[in-house]
């Protein structure tokens, strides 16, 4: 079922790529323009997606007719949500780091992730504090990366 949906998604992506590629300018002096490779890739997505979906049709038929025992329970909702937590925390960093500063944001991210996996509170606090400061100073002072200072700057 997952492969069927993915196949359809790839076909959709292929159609979008082909549409966008068709709008690229053509140049009289060149026989092949900037749209050639994107168009081939779009075509590749369409064909690959079609083949992937088509190979899943017999499985889908079995599931619809009730002969396949593996219907349902395609994914565990809780595990999917928890697996998205790193993504949510990166988005938090992108939007909050300018104000809170990189060091504090990194500490919050580590602390939350450790608590999710049931790390003891004192250990999570200690590791988050030490590791975030280490990473911050390694990159900002040693490698001279301009990480946002945020509140650190405010405190001087």
């Amino acid at each position: 079922m997952r492969d069927l949906l993915l196949g359809l998604a790839f076909m959709l992506l292929g159609a979008v790529v082909l549409t966008v590629a068709s709008q690229y300018p053509t140049m009289a002096s060149l026989q092949y323009g900037p749209s050639l490779f994107p168009s081939l890739i779009g075509g590749g997505f369409l064909i690959g997606g079609l083949v992937l979906s088509a190979t899943q049709l017999p499985t889908l038929k079995r599931q619809l007719s009730g002969t396949d025992a593996n219907v349902g329970n395609i994914f565990d909702l809780r595990s999917v949500l928890v697996s998205l937590l790193p993504i949510a925390l990166i988005i938090f960093y992108i939007f909050a780091s300018e104000f809170l500063g990189a060091a504090l944001c990194l500490a919050i991210i580590m602390f939350v992730l450790m608590l999710v996996r049931k790390t003891s509170l004192p250990l999570a606090l200690l590791v988050s504090f030490v590791a975030s400061l280490t990473i911050y100073f390694l990159f900002s002072r040693y490698l001279l990366i301009p990480l946002p200072e945020g509140l650190l700057n405010f405190w001087g």
Partner: protein
């Protein structure tokens, strides 16, 4: 000779030696913790190496990858969980031997075979690549087009699992490679008005997203911490080694040869080399039935192959600029960022860099012996390091590492997006190596095609007008037709078997 002396100078200085030592420890650590792969280690290392000189940067990557491939055997032996995918082929044998109280003996053989395989692959690299480079100097855009296409085709046909999925994975990489200003017309493609995308997608955030963030998401999606260590062996590491070497030295040579060859094929890395070597070893063994039941022979076969595969992958990377695996794909990106073009000219410059690289390979494999021995002795420390503490730290490294390449938050968004897509695809058994090869080779493929078209006034037949170009083209077409040829051969064999009794 002068270039060689310069190479020695580039390696034997305090900075490079310290980097090699630190990278060896880092490699052991990452390899020995289940769920952290050698590619992930290298992807995390790149933001740091970005600020180093070329020699220590390459030394860090070579040492980390070689050490991580060996260290992956430690959790495979004790926990039945391969530390890296390269240890998966012989995980059953290793774990069953550990059950018999022979864990250290097994790891000792793993270590010896890894060092032997790594040195074997390095010797091939040293002796074969300069001669190949001389041939490659004659190459024009026609040959490079076919080489890039051959590399991309290999990544589909040699990958484990579904070829359709490998093909779609490759298309994703190729699509990413088209982002930015078009080389010929200067037209922006898939930039969506974002200035940071005009120069193309930076491959380091893509690597971090694909190999590190993806693994993190898989870890948080599972509930298994997998940290129960049932026992620790106290047997000797090297006591039984002479006996095994005497019995299985042909396996070491055969495994190393297969590993180097498979490693040199684009898209096929150390893991595929280990699987193939294990299968070949089993097919030729007098004790076939013992494979998979705790037998040292299979471990010798595959363990020699995975480390030689790492060295073998550097042959096409250095000679043609065509990566042999995901790790060399990363290295090629690093070399480009440092203004160096991997390819035959790298052998001709007088800076001694190529000799430095060869020396680094020897050192990386030799340092494996003492550090690997120490790692076997202190296996408990590595195995019991809790991932619930490590993974949050790695996520923070990912964020800061992606940002640090261009000091741009756009790269963090790219890492996030690619990591999200990669985690969905990985859950559905899509291989990641074709996508990386597509990203690295996509530009070479398109640029060499366009240059060739300009040179030949759009004549497609010109791709077959030069002898080497025609040979490479024929090879690519043969590779594409190989499924049909195999199918036809099987059908012919099946038919002839059914007809044979009637004739008799």
């Amino acid at each position: 000779m002068e270039a060689f002396l310069l190479g020695l100078q580039l390696v034997f200085n305090v900075e490079t030696m310290l980097v090699i030592f630190a990278a060896a420890i880092f490699g052991v650590f990452v390899g020995a913790v289940p769920g952290l792969t050698a590619t992930m280690a290298v992807a995390l290392l790149v933001p740091i190496t970005f600020y180093m000189d070329p020699t220590p940067a390459i030394a860090a990557i070579v040492t980390t990858s070689a050490m991580a491939i060996f260290a992956g055997d430690i959790p495979a032996t004790y926990l039945n969980i391969p530390g890296t995918p390269s240890s998966a082929a012989y995980v059953n044998d290793s774990h069953l031997l550990a059950h018999k109280g022979r864990a250290r003996e097994t790891l000792g053989m793993n270590l010896i075979c890894s060092v032997f395989g790594g040195l074997f692959g390095t010797l091939i690299l040293v002796f074969v690549s300069p001669s190949l480079a001389e041939v490659a100097l004659q190459f024009s855009s026609f040959e490079y087009f076919w080489l890039a296409l051959l590399g991309l085709s290999c990544s589909i046909f040699i990958s484990i699992g579904s070829r359709v999925k490998a093909f779609l994975s490759l298309m994703i990489g190729l699509l990413l490679s088209t982002v930015g200003l078009d080389m010929m017309s200067g037209a922006p493609r898939f930039t969506f008005g974002i200035p940071d995308l005009m120069g193309g997608v930076n491959f380091i955030p893509v690597m971090i997203g694909m190999f590190a963030l993806n693994e993190l998401m898989l870890f948080y999606g599972s509930r298994n911490e997998g940290r129960e260590l049932p026992y620790l062996s106290k047997d000797s590491v090297f006591k039984q080694a002479p006996k095994h070497i005497k019995a299985y030295w042909p396996n070491m040579i055969r495994g190393s040869s297969i590993g180097t060859l498979i490693g040199a094929l684009p898209g096929a890395g150390a893991d595929i080399a280990a699987w193939i070597s294990y299968a070949v070893g089993k097919g030729r063994s007098k004790q076939k039935q013992s494979y998979g039941t705790g037998h040292v022979e299979g471990i010798v076969d595959a363990s020699s192959a995975n480390n030689s595969g790492i060295s073998g992958a550097w042959v096409p990377a250095l000679v043609f600029g065509i990566p042999g695996d995901s790790i060399t794909a990363i290295v090629i990106g690093v070399l480009y960022m440092k203004g160096m073009n991997p390819g035959p000219t790298i052998f001709m410059d007088g800076t001694g860099l190529i000799y430095a690289l060869f020396i680094v390979f020897f050192l990386a494999n030799l340092i494996m012996l003492p550090i690997g021995y120490a790692a076997i002795k202190s296996a408990k420390v590595f195995i019991l390091t809790p991932r619930k503490i490590l993974m949050p730290i790695i996520l923070c490294f990912c964020i800061v590492g992606a940002f640090s390449i261009n000091n741009s938050i756009t790269d963090v968004w790219i890492m996030l997006l690619i990591g999200f897509i990669a985690s969905i695809l990985a859950r559905c058994d899509f291989p990641m190596a074709p996508a990386i090869l597509g990203l690295v080779l996509g530009t070479t493929l398109e640029n060499s095609f366009m240059s060739s078209m300009l040179k030949s006034n759009g004549d497609l037949l010109s791709f077959f007008s030069r002898p080497i170009s025609a040979g490479l083209g024929a090879l690519v077409i043969l590779l594409w037709l190989s499924p049909l040829i195999t199918m036809a051969y099987k059908k012919f064999k099946h038919n002839s078997q059914h007809k044979a009794p009637r004739i008799s």
